[in-house]
Amino acid sequence: MQTKHENRSVEDNSINAEEKAPLAYNVEQLNLWYADNHALQDISMKIPEKSVTAIIGPSGCGKSTFIKTLNRMTEMNPIVKTNGSIKYRENEIFAKNFSVEYLRTKVGMVFQNPNPFPKSIYDNVTYGPKIHGIKDKKTLDEIVERSLKKAAIWDETKDRLKENAFGLSGGQQQRLCIARCLAIEPDIILMDEPTSALDPISTLKIEELVQELKKDYTIVIVTHNMQQAARISDSTAFFLNGVIVEHDQTDKIFSSPEKKETEDYISGRFG
C-alpha cells in the first residue's frame, strides 16, 4: 500500500524544462479494467507536442494498453472499462459527443506487427484519405508520393505501387504502415513496439525515421528495448504493474532515476 501511494503521488517532471510547450495529451487519473483485472491504475501523464515520449516496462505492465487508450482502441475489447480523463488538445476524448473517428484521424497508430491491408501499396496509402472523402486522383497521387517519401520508403516502392503490399519485406511493410498513417496527416503518432518484429537494420531505419518525424509530429512509442528508448526519446515513462513509476527526461531516467524500481529495471535486474 505504501509504495502504491507513493507511486500515485509521483510528480511529472518530464516537461519542467520546457513548461511552455503546448500539450498534445493530458492524462489524469486514468483507470482501466479488463473485466476484474485493474490493468491501469491512476495514470496521470502530460505529453508535450513535437516530442518523442517513450513508454518502457516489463511485459504485462500496461504500456501497450495505455497507448491504445490514447486513441480509444481499447474499446474494441468489450470487457474493457475505463474511467478518468484524457484530454487531447483540450478535448476530453471520453466525452459523449466526442467523435472517436475524429480522434483517430488526428492520432495515427503503428502496430507491433506490420499489418498492411491485403491491397496494393498505392491503395494502402490512399485508404485513409479515401475513407475520409478525398477522391480526386491527382491529390491522391500527391499524397502517396509525399507519404511514402516521409516514411523513407519511396525509393523502394515507386516502381511497384500497384503491387500487393504483402510482397514487401517486414521492415518495408512497417514503413508502409507508417506512410499509411501519415497519409491523413495526423497530429500524433502512437507506435506500439513498432520494431519488435523487425531485424536490426529495419529497426535502425525506423528509429531514424522517428527522429525525422518528430519535427512535425508528436510521437508516443512503446518499446521493450531500453536502448531504443534511450536513443530516440525526449522523455521516458516507466510502467510497472499498471502504474507509472517514473516519468522524466530520458537522460535523467537513464542516468539518475529517482525510484529504485526504475533503476533495477533499466539496469536489467528484472523484466
Binding site: 482502441m73 473517428e101 483517430r104 502496430f111 475513407i131
Partner: protein
Amino acid sequence: MKFANTTVPQEVQKENSPQLSKRQIWNKVFKGVCFTATAFSIAMLLILLVRIVTQGAGFLDWGLLTNFASRNAEDAGLLAALAGTIWLMLVTAPVSFILGVGTAVYLEEYAPRNKFTNLLQTNISNLAGVPSVVFGLLGLTIFNRLMGMGASVIAGGLTLSLLVLPIIVVASREAISAVPTDVKHASYAMGATKWQTIFRIVVPTALPGVLTGTILALSRAIGETAPILVLGALTYVASTPSNLFSNFTAMPVQIYNWTGRPQQEFQDIAAAGIIILLLMLLVMNSIAVFIRSKFQKRF
C-alpha cells in the same frame, strides 16, 4: 508384457514374437479392410461416371441443346431446361449471396453475445439439415400460393436460395473470421467507421472464401430436383422463360422426366442430359478450386 525391453528374458521374447506377428497380421488385415472401404467409394464414383458417359455420350449433339422436349426421343432436347436452370441461377445467385453474406457479417461483426444470437446460429445449422423436399413444400405454400407467384422462375429461385443459404453462411463466416484482427484494427485506427471497415477491408479480404462458398452452394442448387418438382415446376415445357414470372423447367427436372419414361431411348438422352449437368458442375467447381488456390491464405 508389451514392452520391447532388453531386460525381458529370452524365453518371454520368444513367446512374444509369434504373438506380435499375429497382431501385426491383424493390423495388416485391418488396414486392408479400411483401404478397401475407401477404394469402394472411389470405385463407385468411377463406375457411375463411366456408365453414364458410355450410355449418354453417343446422344450428345447440338440438337440436345437447341431442341425443346419432345415425344420423340430423337428430337428431344434440353433447351427449355437449360434456359430454366440459368434463369433460376440468375435469381438464386444474387439472393443467396446477399442474404448469406449479410447473415455472416451480422453474426461475425455485429451480433451481441446473447440468446437470440445463439438461436440464430442453432437455427442455421438446423436449417442445413432440413430435407430439400420440405423446402419444396415451403415454396409451394408461401411463394407459389400465398404470394401468388405460381410455379414461376422467381418462386423456384427463392426456394433454392433459402435451401442453400446455410452453405453460404457457413463458408462466409469462416472467411470473415479469418480476416486478421490486426488488419481490422489498422482500419479503425485510421478513423474508419465500422461500416467502412467492413465494406472496404473485411468483405474484400474475405471475398475469395465467400465466392468459393457461393459457387459450391450454387452447384448444389443446380442439381436440386425435389424442391422444384414439389413447388410445381412443369416437366414438359416447350418454351424458354421470358421473365421472372414465367413457368419453367430445369435440368434435373427434365432428366427426372426422361428417366421415368419406359423407352430405352429416353433413358439414353437422360444420360446425355446428366453429362451436360455434370459438366456444368465440373466447370463451377473448377472455378471454385481456382479461386481458392489463387487467393490462398495470405496471412
